[in-house]
Subunit: 214 residues, 2 copies
DNA sequence: TCAAAAGTGTTCAGGGTACACCCATGG
DNA sequence: CCATGGGTGTACCCTGAACACTTTTGA
């Protein structure tokens, strides 16, 4: 390595994951209750240090996998947070990621083992570090991207009803939508294949199950 | 410091600045020809290491100031780039920022001393590292944010003509705009104060100078 | 007098929003 | 038989796009 590098400081770098999932019609985030200092017994995002030979994206995937047992989950980088005193224990620069997953896919045992809990957005406890800012930015990012990419389907199983799909939009945007306008828009915006299966879990009449075609 | 941290790797962290300016009606980026290894004599973005006790934002401001002599310039974080081999000299995690400045404000002497040059977007030389990706992402970010925040004024002096303003939009978006539609939209979108001063530098008739009111 | 940029309104189409009723079924 | 969620079409408005001519003045 050139001496050019050696004279500079090196830093701990972590990734923090804002893990979004839909639960009981509400947008939830997966939080952990810290078992170690600093911030023991306080709520925070799930995070981990970036190790040698590990890219930022890989570190984020690893952290998510540790907590949920899931792989191939949709993740996006939200931004880097590098205030000097953001972590009271040491100077740590953190890169935040958000993950969007189908609530039912997770490994509940792992989640429990990690001292983690799903919390609805409007019931968030006080978070440690600068994690409130990170959550805020992730949410803003999610809401923006919702209009640009077909992210909603990440929250749903492969087969879903249009009402479920609408529920995701409403939960993420935090507002009610008109059913007819929603269906018109979504069916011309996305390639949705109507299957001949009917879901009866949420109504007596039953609703057609759809599949999203990429 | 808790032992919790010590077992983890530490990394060099740098900031790289995508410095945008408008020159001769085109969107330009300020590039430097590297004087040191790795990548000596190749073109790259201006960057610098994040030091102890320095936040990411502060590091970006410092780097920009070193190169241009400017302070209080509009900067935004574009994202973090952390592939393991992105820098062939060492493992360096980089956080990219973009800066928007008025071309005429810079300290040209400093720019020259730093071996830097303004290059139009469509004349970009091959860039070192993963800097092409960074530039691409910064440009995408800039074009997106253009519709959300009053960024255009960062490229202009305090007083400007509507034609200059339109020129900025056209240069950033890379497309011609309709004059009447542009003027209608911009005057109802922003609070523009028409001064009684006339700019004659670009036409015989002269154009009114406007001021942007925050 | 002419070249070159400044300045100025109207028309039209398409997308987004508001809005109400019948259907199928399980309990 | 009724409560519950599923499913469907139209009218209106407003925003965004297309479009051409007059004005001023320095060279």
């Amino acid at each position: 390595m050139h001496s050019y590098y050696r004279e500079h400081a090196r830093h701990y770098v972590s990734v923090d994951c804002v893990i979004f999932g839909l639960h009981e019609g509400k947008l939830n985030i997966l939080l952990i209750k810290r078992r170690m200092m600093p911030g023991r017994d306080k709520w925070s995002l799930m995070g981990g240090f970036v190790e040698q030979g590990e890219s930022l994206d890989d570190a984020a995937k690893r952290v998510l996998h540790q907590l949920t047992g899931l792989e191939n989950v949709y993740m996006d980088q939200v931004g880097a947070f590098g205030d000097v005193d953001r972590d009271p224990g040491a100077r740590v620069i953190s890169v935040a990621y958000c993950a969007l997953l189908n609530f039912d896919d997770q490994d509940h045992q792992r989640v429990t083992d990690n001292n983690a809990r799903w919390v609805a957005l409007d019931e968030m406890p006080e978070l440690f570090f600068d994690h409130p800012r990170i959550v805020e930015k992730a949410l803003e990012y999610l809401r923006q991207q919702l209009h640009r990419k077909p992210l909603v389907f990440q929250f749903l199983p492969e087969l879903f009803t249009l009402s479920q799909l609408q529920g995701v939009y409403e939960a993420v945007l935090g507002e009610k939508l008109d059913k007819r306008n929603f269906r018109k828009r979504v069916t011309e915006l996305y390639d949705l294949e109507k299957t001949d299966m009917i879901d009866k879990s949420s109504s007596k009449r039953g609703a057609s199950l759809y599949k999203f075609i990429i």
